[in-house]
Amino acid sequence: MTEASGKQPFLLTRADAFITWAQKNSLWPFGSGLACCAIEMIATAAARFDIARFGMELFRASPRQADLFIVAGTVTNKMAPVIRRLWDQMPDPKWALAMGNCAIGGGPFPTYSVLQGVDKIIPVDVYVAGCPPTPQGLIHGLMILQEKIGRSHPTKELLDPDARRSR
C-alpha cells in the first residue's frame, strides 16, 4: 500500500492487503484456448515453465470456478457471443488477460470474420503481445496482473457497489 491512500482507514487497508494477497496468489485460470496461443498457454502450465508455482495450477474447466479468463487466440465473430457469455458466467472478482496479437487487435487477420480485438466485448486487464507470446512473456503478463490485483481495493468495492463499475 505504497501510494498515499490517506482516505482509506487503516483497518481497511490491512484487510485490502490480506484479501488481495489471497486473490493474487490463487488465480485459477479458465481453461479456454482458441488457437495457437492456447498451445503456448498449455506449455506455460506444463513442466518447464510451470505457473503452478504461483498458485495458478488448477485450470478450471467451468467458468463458475475460474477467476482469470485468458483469451488465448483469435476471436472470430461467430465465437464472440460465446466468449461474452463465458465472461458473464464467471463470478465477480474476475480478470481478463488478452494473450496474443489476435486477442489484442485482430493480429495478422484483418478479415471479414475476425473480431479486431477482444476488448470490444470484455474489459481486459492485461495485454500480452506476441504471436504467440513466449511462455516467459505470458508469465511476465501474469506478474503484471498480480501487481494490478495487489493495488486494487476489494473492501471499497464491497462497501459501495457502484465503485465496482468505475474499476
Binding site: 506444463a46 510451470d50 503452478a52 467451468s62 463458475r64 463470478p91 472478482p93
Partner: protein, 342 residues
C-alpha cells in the same frame, strides 16, 4: 478437576479439536496433493506462497470466500444450497467417532481421545459417509444443467454399488474382532499381536479399492471427470459452496484413510507390536503412529491419481459387480470358516 471443567471445558475443547483436526488435515492434504502430483509430473508445484507454498491452501480458501456466489435462476434453490452442507456435514460428523489414541490419564481424570465411543461406531461412520452421496446427487440435479445431472447420475450408481464390497469387508473385520467398536477393534489387534491387514489381505485390498471409488478419486473419478463432464456435479458451484465440495472431498479421503488405518493397520499401535527388540518404539505416542500411517495412505491416493487413467463407466460397474463383490463374499466365507474351525 471441578465438574465445570470436566463437563464443559473439556468436551467443548474436544469438539473444537475434532472440527479443527479434519480442517488441518484438509489444508495439509491440499498442499500435499498439489506438490506431490507436481513433483511426480516433473514440475515444481506451488512454492511461492509462504514457505514452499504452505500458505497456498489458505490463499485458495480466502479467495474462494470473497468470490461472488452465483446460483442459476432455474436451479432449485433449497437443494442447491443444502447439498454442500450435506456433503461437509456428513464428513465432519463421522470424525466424532474416529478414535485418535488410547485414553490419557491426567491426574484422576482420563481424557478420551474421541468424542463418542459407541458399540456400533463402525456402522455409524459407514452410514454417515453414504449421506454425502445425497449431497452430490442433490447438487448435480439441482443445478439444472446437463453435465452436472450426468455427473450426479454417475455418482449415484458408483457410490451405491461400491458400498456393498465396503460393507462386506468391514463385516469380516468386525467378525474377527467380535465387535463393531473401533477402539475395541484396535485393542483386539493389539491383543492378537497381528494387524488385520496382514491377517486378511484380501479384505484390505477390496476395502481400499472401494474406498477410492467411494470418494470419487483417481481411476474412478467419473462424476467429476474434467475431460468429459466439464467439472462434473460441481460445475455450477462457485465461491464458498464450491470450496465446501472441494474440502469435503478431501475430508472424506482423510476419513476413509483413517478408517483403513484403524481397521487393518492397528490404529495407534507401533509397528511390530510383538517383536521385543523394537520395544523402544512404544515410547513414541500412539497419535504419531496413527498420523504416519494416515499420511502413507493419503500419499497412496495422490500417487494413484498421478499415474492411472480414468475408468469408463461400464467397466467401472463391471469391476465391482463381477470382481469385487464375489471376491468380498468369498473372503467373508473363508474368514468365517477359519474362525469357526479355530
Amino acid at each position: 478437576m471441578t465438574p465445570f471443567v470436566a463437563d464443559v471445558l473439556i468436551p467443548v475443547g474436544k469438539i473444537v479439536a475434532v472440527i479443527l483436526y479434519p480442517m488441518i488435515m484438509v489444508v495439509v492434504m491440499i498442499w500435499l496433493e498439489r506438490r506431490v502430483v507436481a513433483l511426480m509430473q516433473g514440475r515444481l508445484g506451488p512454492n511461492r506462497v509462504g514457505f514452499q507454498g504452505v500458505l497456498q491452501p489458505v490463499a485458495d480458501a480466502v479467495k474462494l470466500f470473497f468470490k461472488e456466489d452465483i446460483m442459476q435462476r432455474q436451479a432449485d434453490a433449497f437443494l442447491f444450497n443444502i447439498s454442500p452442507v450435506l456433503v461437509m456435514f456428513s464428513s465432519l460428523l463421522a470424525f466424532c467417532f474416529v478414535p485418535l489414541g488410547e485414553p490419557i490419564r491426567i491426574g484422576t481424570y482420563t481424557l478420551t481421545l474421541w468424542i463418542a465411543e459407541s458399540p456400533v461406531g463402525l456402522l455409524i461412520i459407514l452410514g454417515l459417509s453414504s449421506i454425502s452421496v445425497f449431497g452430490v446427487i442433490f447438487g448435480g440435479w439441482a443445478s439444472n444443467s446437463k453435465y452436472p445431472l450426468m455427473g450426479a447420475l454417475r455418482s449415484v450408481v458408483q457410490v451405491l454399488s461400491y458400498e456393498i464390497p465396503t460393507g462386506l469387508t468391514v463385516l469380516t473385520v468386525a467378525f474377527v474382532a467380535r465387535s463393531m467398536d473401533l477402539v475395541e477393534i484396535v485393542r483386539r489387534q493389539e491383543a492378537s499381536g497381528t494387524w488385520y491387514g496382514f491377517l486378511m489381505p484380501v479384505s484390505f485390498i477390496v476395502f481400499w479399492i472401494s474406498a477410492i471409488a467411494e470418494t470419487n478419486r483417481a481411476p474412478f473419478d467419473l462424476p467429476e471427470a474434467e475431460s468429459e463432464l466439464v467439472a462434473g456435479y460441481h460445475t455450477e458451484y462457485s465461491g464458498m459452496k464450491f470450496a465446501f465440495f472441494y474440502m469435503a472431498e478431501y475430508a472424506h479421503m482423510v476419513l476413509v484413510s483413517s478408517l483403513v488405518v484403524i481397521l487393518f493397520f492397528g490404529g495407534w499401535l507401533p509397528p511390530f507390536p510383538s517383536v521385543k527388540a523394537l520395544a523402544f518404539l512404544h515410547a513414541v505416542p500412539g497419535f504419531v503412529w496413527y498420523l504416519v500411517k494416515i499420511m502413507f495412505f493419503l500419499y497412496l491416493y495422490v500417487w494413484i491419481r498421478a499415474t492411472l487413467p480414468r475408468y469408463r463407466f461400464d467397466s467401472l460397474i463391471r469391476l465391482v459387480w463381477k470382481w469385487l463383490i464375489p471376491l468380498a463374499l468369498a473372503n467373508f466365507l473363508v474368514v468365517a470358516l477359519v474362525r469357526f474351525l479355530r
